[in-house]
Amino acid sequence: MLKEGQVRIPSGCAISGMFSKAGKCFNGEAIIKSIEIMHDRSNGLGGGFAAYGIYPEYKDYYAFHVFYDNTAVKKECEEFLHRHFDIVLDSEIPTRKIPQITDEPIIWRYFVTPLPAKLKNSHLDEKEYVVRCVFKVNTRFSGAYVFSSGKDMGVFKAVGYPEDVGRFYRLEEYNGYCFTAHGRYPTNTPGWWGGAHPFALLDYSVVHNGEISSYDANRRSIEMYGYKCTLQTDTEVIAYIVDYLNRKMGLSFQEIASVIAAPFWQTINKMPPDQKARAEYLRNIFGSFLVTGPFSILVGFEGGMMALNDRLKLRSMVCGEKDDMIYIASEESAIRIIEPELEKVWSPAGGVPVVVTLNGGNA
């Protein structure tokens, strides 16, 4: 059986996310409850979470979460990491043995910062340096896989139902201002932990429900800009596109939305001239990053979260609001289970992003 990266596997999914605009921290119980209610949207072949604001004491360090198949590769990989980073702390990620989660790899966590001399010699900016090191590990060391590499955030994922994955990772012990979750329904059973979602690069994390039709067009285009789509998943390619457009091109999340879920020409044609010119420009220049086919995604990033549907809204996605909390999930039930008394519930239109940030910050 081929695993992610060797074959493209379509899958159905459930996603959920919750975000405190005030930056109030809460633990992972709620997000587990939320994703659990959508149990039937997953099939036990992958689940995971991204959590933001969970490492306040190490917030200046990149938190690498790594799967190792064995200790040999761990050793090899750690030598690589040592050559490139100052590792301030490394430890096994705490887990809870439960019968539903089996065959776990070695799961390790490192808080790192690039070695200043190495960084300088590389002539790269710090983030690019980190990204390249992550790619090196993931492509060079067979059996090692960095699945989380942002600051003050972390991805927790495994093969299993998402609620079991949450309990396995003891998510109730983490406190953050934002959690996203993903339950997966792949149409085959490779059962590789790295293939579970969220997919993350630096502090960008993506959970996604859908199966995009533009995949290979997007992949072959983003790969020209230094990315290597090792997993052949939609989530991965979307994460890279978001990284490229935001970090490298400096587009805002609103602008990113109008690239990957660009307004239809019939809409653009009705815009005022200067707005039209900008929309046309984005579609012309970044046309290869238009994502078509059904998707609903939650993109987590430092200090914010974006929810976005494909422009035809071919996947369900509901938003809810109460006080400073924003809830977004594939189904309204996943919001009601954790917050029955919502002030506002709505279904964002296709292609219209919902972007939330901490204390109204820029995104």
Partner: protein, 501 residues
Amino acid sequence: MGINYIVPEYRVVRDPDRCIGCRVCERQCANEVHSFVPQTGKMAADDAKCVNCHRCVSLCPTGALRIVKNEDTFKINANWSNKLMQEIYRQADSGGVLLSSMGNPEPYPIYFDKILLNASQVTNPSIDPLREPMETRTFLGAKTKKIQRDKDGKIIPNASPYLELKTPIMFSAMSYGSISYNAHESLARAATELGIYYNTGEGGLHDDFYQYGANTIVQVASGRFGVHADYLDTAAAIEIKMGQGAKPGIGGHLPGTKIVGDISRTRMIPEGSDAISPAPHHDIYSIEDLRQLVFSLKEATNYQKPVIVKIAAVHNVAAIASGIARSGADIIAIDGYRGGTGAAPTRIRDNVGIPIELALAAVDQRLRDEGIRDNVSIVVGGSCRCSTDVFKAIALGADACYIGTAALLALGCHLCRSCHAGKCNWGIATQRPDLVKRLNPDIGYKRLVNLVEAWTHEIKEMMGGMGINSIESLRGNRLMLRGVGLNEKELEILGIKHAGE
């Protein structure tokens, strides 16, 4: 008259019960195949003159005519085919180079026909183009990614000069001279109505067609015919023609007898002088020379227009394309070996160059590997015969397709491949006024519009079927393709999997 070695290729079969002697066939055949015999009161035909253009068949009001392959044959020989033997007789007779027209007709593999398309089932919905927007708008030009913002932080649209197409199909270069005034008018008007572009070829731009400049690509080829400041200024884009799929490495030759009147004026050469396009551009002997010409033309047009470089698909096309992508050109046009021509040496046409499908796949991948695919758009031609050919080309990585032969077919061409004789009965590849008038542009342009609209509808259907609602999501989306009956190497070059994988 010595011995006649040549056996007529076709036979005119006339149904005596249906022929009413209206003599339409006689009046319509520029090759003078048909004649009325007063003694018998019946029509007769001279098979030897028939090129099988089907004009008579199409116009015969009673359906009395059929043109059939002459069953007369030399002794069957798998090595020495009838065709080869006749060619030898012809050359032994004339001492000349064999001439042919239109595209390579030989039975080489057609890769488009060995590629199948995907469609959505269950996990991803197909999209109904009758219900949802289905977008085919295409931009051609460099996709330079330099975000600039004004003082309010708003993006400044600073795209390089580009062409905007309503659908990813353009009419490929066919010169006024090789085709008729009315054919050009049909193309120009159709391109304008369709929101696409047609291409002057190397024949200059007739004064009457400056009005269609916004939908015109002007060509600068090795003969530089008809090139002047207004010509460049009027156009939407400028194409430097380095080569042509039908005859890579070969120049062009329009005999002086055809350089009369408007043709002479439009090409800016004296009446009666031969129009010789040299095989190479004599100011381009290297890629750096090409870069100079690209920038000369950009300088001449104030950096307002995209520059296209057109090359024939030859063996090292990917490397050549890589060079062009770094030359400042905005668009690369690649012409496959099946591309048409008004006249080419038969041996060249039938043996030089490579299939466009392989060339395209190689170029697209090479440019991506080098990270310069966004420097240029890729336009391919050389036998895009139907909407699926266009569709597959785009999925392989093309931005748009040039159609030439298909456009001429829409205008009535029956691929008799006798353009070089100048007696086109359909009024396309001729300058004889009585034949030119057979192509009424009012009809011709509408047929072209119909064709491209029909293809566009089909493209939309196929896009919708695979859950794609904008053409850019198809571009280079090779996962949507599968090969059938292709070997590993072919699949590797095409960058696609075999059906079933």
